[in-house]
């Protein structure tokens, strides 16, 4: 009895295990690598020649030199006599200042608008739709320039608008009342943060208990005592003062309070409104992705609306929302580099000034890339961790 067993594919006697397919693959790889290496090598040799012709020494030694550039508005203390390295760090601080606050505000605003689009109120959902369509279809840079022009057209400090007592809006920017934060105040805030961490752990434990015996245990007594009562007790014991510093008009400018410079304020508004339009769409599609049956089932069980949203709808919507939200956060961070167009000194702007002053083009661009790659990687890392936490656990 003979059966046709499939014969092994013919192997070349000459090449052994290297069949024609593998050889072809090898050939393509060698070809591509040779071309890429050739192009890179050509560019590199040109660059070396050009740099030596311009008497620019490559390397990061210039970072230790005195920067001499002014930085008008910064989170970290800076003086033009500081080094280029410190100027870079100050720039990174400025980028993070606008990116972190922008991400928080854009998430809040975007979520509100996304929910508004689903509202049963026709007017509200239409207005939200118009907001989303308009802001998404106009370039961010144009919106940024527009906000900046509006900022500059605001009245001078003497005639500043006062929407609320103690808040001034003028061509000097937005001035808010502030609470000066010293070491004692930070201690109290630190206690509150510690309390938050403790409550998180307690909650996990309580949920684990509930999983075992099905009894619902309230978490709020712990929350009140650790997040509220403990910091208040520390504050009273240490006699920490929480006086609010009200801004005062002196001459042509304001003294005291917290000042958001017009550049920073315009950049923040532009980034937050633009990104919130995209976030609104993500939130909307996330909520819509939860099947109707889930709403009906929760209602049939007689769950309270807040419980239903928190425990049934949101966890399922978040699975759809989180991955595109990550890329919006990354976009906001990268878009903060448009600051250079209105003179807010973020890391790209400072790198650009450095580049013009020293001619260290490669190093400056490499630093920008390093900064943004590390910010991007940390955001993706955090969001991936969060995503894996909320992901569907299948049996």
């Amino acid at each position: 009895m003979t059966t046709d067993t499939p014969r092994p594919p013919p192997r070349s006697r000459f090449f052994g295990a290297w069949g024609p397919r593998e050889l072809k693959g090898l050939f393509w790889q060698v070809l591509v690598i040779t071309i890429v290496a050739g192009v890179v090598g050509f560019l590199w040799s040109n660059t070396v020649t050009n740099l030596s012709a311009r008497r620019i020494t490559t390397g990061f030694a210039f970072l230790g030199r005195e920067a001499g550039m002014p930085i008008a508005d910064s989170l970290l203390a800076y003086n033009p006599r500081d080094t280029y390295l410190w100027a870079f760090v100050v720039g990174v601080g400025n980028t993070l200042r606008v990116a972190v606050i922008g991400i928080v505000l854009a998430t809040i605003l975007g979520t509100l608008i996304g929910i508004s689009r689903l509202s049963a109120n026709w007017l509200l959902s239409r207005l939200a739709a118009v907001y989303v369509e308009t802001l998404r279809d106009i370039p961010l840079l144009l919106q940024l320039l527009f906000w900046y022009v509006l900022m500059q057209a605001l009245p001078a400090a003497r005639a500043a608008w006062r929407p609320v007592d103690g808040v001034f809006l003028s061509n000097r920017g937005l001035i808010l009342p502030a609470i000066p934060l010293g070491l004692p105040q930070l201690w109290v805030l630190g206690t509150a943060a510690f309390g938050l961490a403790v409550v998180y752990l307690i909650r996990r434990w309580l949920v684990a208990q509930q999983m075992r015996d099905g009894k619902l245990r309230p978490v709020w007594p712990f929350a009140v005592s650790f997040i509220l009562a403990l910091p208040v007790a520390v504050s009273v014991l240490l006699r920490v003062s929480w006086t609010i510093e009200w801004p005062q008009l002196r001459g042509f400018n304001f003294v005291g309070g917290l000042t958001l410079a017009p550049e920073y304020f315009a950049l923040l508004i532009a980034l937050v409104t633009y990104t919130s339009a995209f976030i609104a769409e993500i939130v909307r599609s996330g909520i819509q992705s939860v099947p109707r049956g889930q709403w009906d089932a929760a209602n049939a069980l007689g769950l309270r609306r807040s419980f239903m949203l928190r425990q049934i709808i949101l966890p399922q919507a978040l699975r759809v929302i989180v991955p595109p939200m990550t890329s919006q956060y990354l976009n906001l961070t990268k878009n903060s580099s448009l600051a250079v167009a209105i003179g807010y000194q973020d890391v790209v702007s400072i790198a650009n000034t450095t580049l013009n002053q020293t001619g260290q083009a490669i190093e400056a661009i490499a630093l920008i890339m390093a900064v943004f790659l590390s910010i991007s990687l940390s955001i993706s890392f955090f969001m991936n961790w969060y995503n894996s936490r909320i992901a569907l656990v299948e049996r």
């Binding site: 393509w28 040109n46 109120n121 007017l123 106009i138 109707r292 009906d296 790209v348 661009i365």
Partner: protein, 368 residues
């Protein structure tokens, strides 16, 4: 009131008896379905009315529409009270076409028309054939002839004199026309079994997507001259165009990769079984299906990318936004930048809105 009424999109209207005036019924279901909803509607209506009223007052009632040539005194008189739309008839030639020779500006205008016609034809399903590629090549060649001139009796216009809307459309369209094939190659490279090609593609995509476009443009404007042999230099517009192509390639590659992943394995296996080579397999079987899957996200990428061309302002290339910003440097008109920005925003909006509507209609029909 049942709890079900709180669910978004609950078919409430259908459950109510259909009686009474239809207008009142509409108002009741859509604006005044409950007391909080009614209060919200009234507040929103008040805010909206006030907003529309002040805009009409500023933008229409108190606005100045025309002034004698280069005389902004009428506009200054209403400053803060009314808009100065007169700046648009005064400056629109510069905003739209930049410093292109004034008497020759029909050429960029015709190019814009050609671009729009090209976009329109590309969205028609009847034109989704191989001939579309030849149409693109032909149209882009014709536009190059129109813009540069130097043949057929057209005077030569060097590209440092180009500006305004045609430059925006050129950056976006050529970026797309070259970025798309690049994106396909990189997407294939990223899914390739060959380790060297795969890692090169990953490196390229992640590097480009990890940094802001601004820094790529800086790189193009500052570092490019360093990369080239001494004495050899290419034009600033072309350098920005190369940066935009590289940028577009990386983003498009990721979208196309998503499409490639959506093609069922059986299709690859069937193509292999037919004995098709790698390139024929992808050209004839895989890519047509993959691209069809991702047309809506592709259009969204095009929109993002069209808006992003405005970033060339930062390296001083005269696109639409830069000409707008330059037009208001003129001291007589300096205070009326808001009007110019609104005008330019409207142009960008028309292009992007048309594309986003198109993307939505494709999503509705499933790209088929």
């Amino acid at each position: 009131m049942t709890v079900i009424a709180d669910i978004p999109d609950a078919p409430r209207a259908a459950r109510r008896p259909q009686i009474g005036n239809p207008v009142l019924r509409w108002l009741r279901t859509n604006l005044f379905s409950s007391i909080p909803n009614g209060i919200l509607s009234i507040v929103l209506l008040a805010v909206l009315a006030k907003g529309i009223f002040s805009f009409v007052l500023w933008g229409i009632a108190n606005a100045v529409w025309l002034t004698p040539a280069n005389d902004s005194s009428a506009c200054r008189a209403v400053r803060g009270l009314g808009a100065c739309w007169a700046i648009i008839p005064e400056k629109y030639r510069f905003i739209l076409f930049g410093t292109y020779p004034f008497d020759e500006q029909w050429r960029p205008a015709l190019s814009v028309v050609l671009f729009v016609a090209l976009y329109f034809l590309s969205t028609r399903r009847a034109f989704w054939r191989r001939e579309l590629i030849y149409l693109w090549i032909g149209a882009l060649a014709l536009i190059s002839v129109l813009m540069w001139g130097g043949v057929l009796g057209l005077s030569f216009v060097s590209q440092d004199r180009w500006g305004g809307l045609p430059v925006t459309l050129i950056l976006a369209t050529f970026g797309l026309a070259f970025g798309f094939p690049l994106g396909i190659l990189v997407a294939l490279g990223r899914r390739s079994k060959l380790p060297a090609i795969r890692s090169l593609s990953v490196l390229y995509v992640e590097l480009i997507r990890g940094v802001p476009l601004v820094s790529l443009l800086f790189m193009a404007s500052v570092m490019f001259p360093l990369f080239m042999p001494a004495g050899f230099n290419i034009d600033k517009l072309l350098r920005a165009q190369i940066a935009i192509i590289l940028f577009a390639g990386a983003y498009l590659a990721e979208v196309i990769r998503g499409g490639l992943q959506a093609v069922p394995r059986g299709q690859y296996e069937a193509a292999d079984a037919l004995g098709l080579s790698y390139w024929r397999k992808h050209r004839l079987i895989v890519l047509p299906q993959a691209i069809r899957h991702v047309i809506p996200p592709l259009v969204n990428t095009f929109i993002a990318f069209f808006k992003d061309t405005s970033l060339v302002l930062i390296i001083g290339i005269f696109d639409l936004l830069t000409t707008a910003k330059t037009a208001i440097i003129d001291p007589a008109w300096q205070q009326f930048s808001v009007e110019v920005y609104i005008f330019v925003a409207a142009i960008y909006f028309v292009f992007c809105f048309a594309m986003s509507r198109y993307s939505r209609s494709l999503e509705a029909t499933g790209g088929r």
